[in-house]
């Protein structure tokens, strides 16, 4: 159980405070309600590029990192298809430095040409390092547009192509900031060894003077229901053939989400899971295989991905997967197998609560999903998953016409 308090400031900024006196640190997590899904299709990769620019100096403070490091702080950020999240930790006594830095870059960036020019290059190198110069690195650049035809999840956070990043200009940067980086579109979580009165005082001092702005209205096109099986094959310079199968599923806050997540655990979590035992160890069709949910806010994907053992054909491999999915559709999962997955989930949640920063980020995400307290309801939702529920959902989503398959084959 994570205790917290929630406030809304005059300028519509949401503030959540979570006190944990067991740590000497304080952390400040700011989530902006903007991700790659909010991008224009001709200017993709922008939310992520923008995340880089947030470190290029703000209106009153020329450098973000230096003053933070001077007080013993550390920071980072990440961008997903749904959100952009910034966090820093400081020795608790130096909490105000984090407020000073974070509020100034919410107020306004410095918008220097040098920063834009350099971060464009850095992000292009990131694109190369993580997506192009890696075996299987471009899988998601291929699989997303296969699975999504309309919804902006069809592109990755890094962007569709390098040229979109190359073409980013200062006008775009300023417009993006104005539209999305404002108190009404942000959730501030302050956690760790902090005093609540002091946090409220500091928030009013540093954040409340910033003009509210407006919350992003996402207004995204809904992905039409897939009615036909989709397949795509590529040949690349890789040592092993691989298969990726993506099935459409519900959104993060929908009722079925926890059932599908447990179903993925039954298939591939740990050495006692079905795909590991059957397809890797017994039938030796795969050298590695995983099943997982993407966890997207909007309607998402349930994915099975595996690398084939030498000499195994894609037909054999797919039949192996299909047989396991068939089992889920016709047989009820045994009670102890289901209990195992629930126990595993329970301990994962408890272990994750041992980390303050993790708690802060999850509180912010839960709040954006509707209510910070969702974080405390997760365990119970997993406990309520039933064998019948798994069988039903398997029949509902694990269908050929709901699946996009990418065959990623060696040359």
């Amino acid at each position: 159980m994570i205790q917290f308090e929630k406030f809304t400031l005059k300028n519509k900024l949401t503030l959540i405070i979570h006190t944990d006196k067991s740590t000497p640190m304080a952390c400040v997590n700011i989530l902006y309600n903007v991700g790659a899904r909010d991008e224009d299709e001709s200017k993709t990769g922008f939310a992520h590029l923008f995340e880089h620019l947030m470190f290029g100096g703000s209106i009153n403070i020329p450098n973000y990192d230096e003053p933070l490091q001077l007080v013993g702080g550390e920071n980072n950020a990440f961008t997903t298809n749904d959100i952009t999240n910034y966090y820093c930790t400081v020795p608790a006594a130096n909490l105000e430095t984090a407020f000073w830095l974070e509020s100034d870059r919410m107020l306004s960036l410095a918008f220097t040409d040098k920063s834009l020019e350099v971060q464009r290059s850095v992000v292009i190198e990131e694109f190369k390092q993580r997506y192009l110069n890696q075996p299987y690195g471009d899988v998601w650049l291929l699989l997303r547009p296969l699975a999504y035809k309309v919804h902006p999840y069809k592109w990755s956070t890094i962007g569709k192509e390098i040229s979109h990043i190359e073409n980013a200009v200062m006008g775009d940067v300023k417009a993006f900031f104005k539209k999305h980086y404002c108190p009404a579109n942000a959730i501030l979580v302050v956690a760790g060894n902090v005093d609540r009165e002091n946090v409220i005082k500091l928030t009013e001092k540093w954040f409340e003077p910033i003009p509210a702005g407006e919350a992003t209205i996402h207004n995204l096109p809904e992905e039409p229901i897939q009615t036909e099986e989709r397949k795509h094959t590529v040949h690349r310079d890789v040592p092993q053939d691989a298969i990726y199968k993506a099935y459409h599923m519900c959104a993060r806050v929908d009722k079925e989400y926890h059932t599908i997540d447990i179903m993925s655990d039954i298939l591939s979590r740990g050495n006692s899971s079905r795909l590991y035992k059957t397809l890797i160890k017994d039938k030796k069709l795969f050298s590695e295989i995983n099943a997982y949910v993407m966890g997207d806010f909007d309607k998402g994907l349930f994915v099975i991905s595996g690398k084939l053992s030498d000499g195994v054909s894609t037909e054999q491999a797919e039949q192996g997967i299909e047989a396991e999915l068939q089992k889920l559709k016709i047989e009820l999962v045994a009670a102890d197998e289901l209990q195992k997955c629930k126990n595993k989930t329970e301990s994962t949640i408890i272990f994750s609560e041992a980390d303050v920063l993790n708690k802060a980020t999850n509180l912010a995400i839960s709040e954006l999903l509707g209510d910070a307290n969702l974080i405390n309801e997760e365990t119970e939702k997993y406990q309520q998953v039933t064998a019948e529920g798994i069988k039903d959902i398997a029949n509902k989503i694990l269908k050929k016409e709901n699946c996009s398959t990418l065959y990623y084959l060696k040359k």
Binding site: L70, V71, G72, V118, Q119, N133, D310, K340, I350
Partner: protein
């Protein structure tokens, strides 16, 4: 009116209190070190053996002995073991470093005793079925081949060989064909020799159950499991390459991996603390010289860093990055330029202060929570040090001068001693 150009006042860290491990001994002599901390009802029990790659005679044996320990005993099959451990929601993680192997159980306290039964069984009675070994090696080889497509992986594998020599225990580079040549006998023999009560310590962290001593004694302390043998192995001096420049071409690479560095020392050396400060300034944090120049000014890379690898018998310093293939030469020039600046110019007071505060902040971050505190203990135990090491570290960081940094750069970063490796395109 709020003055946003004025930084708030801040405090420097004047002292750091580290919760020290408490120790007790099981009936058979195994030392147990415990950190009782945290608010969640969970515990991590880590079994540490001097059974790292340093001790193996052929490649892959140490990692196979460790990774496959949960793959069957006389009493239970691999599936039965994983079913049981997973059923209780516990996690069992194995890892091998150059010097040590580690078997870690993460469990909720309410399931700890039920799970430990199986951990006891596999630690004492692993049988390494041939079938399991075959699957493991086949799949490991596949992963190895995937790694061989990555410039950074190729550079990392090659680099230890350059620093220590191709036949040195720290320098042997695994080859694809080693996966086919590894024999069950060597794995079993390695297990029998190194996974014994006399070569084991146990580190426990979490909100500890009151009966921990008794529980551990019941499972691991009653009998002298495993045959104790002398595992000491005399250290052979490193045979560092005498050639400074190395290049592995990968014609279709869009980025090159660069590694540069030299054999140096480990954390028991008197210059270690000051060198850590030097390293942080140079390439050890986001605001470092290398990052500021090669990423934030030139945009050649997504990231660049440097570090000091501390092994029980040795150590080495290295810089590592991946840069656009077309700017490989420029990046190399800039790295050498930054080294010269370290050797010629004094670090400014502001930069030195920032780095000192940053290091102490990081230090504070690593004494937070039971697992981090347990790792702090392990970090000194592995090198035969005691807790005064951390006090000395703290004081050394506080007192190091820019003069010392320049002197150490002159002493340890001579171009003639640096080994440069590029994998990709120049």
């Amino acid at each position: 009116m709020l003055n946003r150009t004025q930084a708030p006042e801040f405090k420097t860290i004047d002292s750091i209190a580290i919760q020290q491990a408490q120790s007790f001994t099981l009936d058979n002599g195994i030392h147990v070190h415990t950190i009782d901390a945290g608010s969640q009802e969970l515990t991590r029990i880590e079994f540490v053996f001097k059974a790292g790659m340093y001790y193996q005679d052929t490649p892959l044996v140490a990692s196979a002995a460790c990774a496959l320990i949960e793959n069957g005993t006389k009493k239970y099959s691999a599936n039965q073991l994983s079913d049981s451990i997973d059923f209780y929601g516990s996690f069992f993680e194995t890892s091998v470093s150059q010097d040590f192997s580690s078997l870690a159980l993460f469990s909720l306290n309410k399931h700890l005793e039920s799970t430990l039964v199986f951990i006891e069984e596999l630690i004492k009675n692993a049988i390494y079925p041939q079938e399991e070994i075959n699957t493991y090696l086949t799949n490991k080889k596949q992963k190895f081949l995937v790694g061989s497509q990555k410039v950074d992986v190729l550079a990392r594998r090659k680099y230890s060989e350059l620093i220590f020599g191709s036949t040195h225990p720290y320098g042997i580079e695994v080859k694809a064909e080693d996966h086919d040549a590894t024999k069950r006998d060597s794995i079993v023999n390695f297990f029998k020799k190194y996974y014994t009560h006399s070569n084991c310590i146990i580190i426990v962290a979490g909100k500890l159950p009151a009966n921990l001593h008794q529980v551990l004694n019941n499972h691991f302390g009653k009998d002298k499991w495993g045959t104790a043998t002398n595992i000491n192995k005399a250290y052979i001096p490193a045979q560092t390459t005498t050639q400074n420049i190395h290049y592995i071409e990968k014609p279709d690479a869009v980025q090159s991996a660069i590694r540069m560095g030299r054999r140096l020392f480990n954390k028991t050396h008197p210059d270690y603390f000051a060198f850590q400060v030097l390293n942080t300034i140079f390439g050890g944090y986001f605001g470092s010289r290398l990052m500021a120049n090669i990423r934030e000014d030139k945009g050649y890379t997504y990231g660049i860093g440097s570090g000091l690898a501390s092994l029980v018998h040795d150590g080495y310093f290295f810089i590592s990055t991946e840069v656009g293939a077309d700017v490989t030469k420029n990046a190399l020039e800039e790295i050498y330029k930054e080294i010269e600046i370290m050797q010629n110019d004094l670090v400014s007071d502001d930069e030195l202060e920032t780095v000192k505060n940053y290091i102490l902040g990081q230090f504070l971050r690593t004494v937070e929570g039971p697992f981090a505190l347990a790792d702090k203990f392990k970090g000194i135990w592995e090198f035969g040090l005691n807790y005064s090491y951390y006090g000395n570290y703290f004081n050394a960081v506080k007192s190091v001068t820019s003069q010392q940094i320049r002197d150490l750069s002159g002493k340890y970063l001579q171009k003639k001693d640096l080994i440069e490796l590029v994998v990709g395109k120049k």
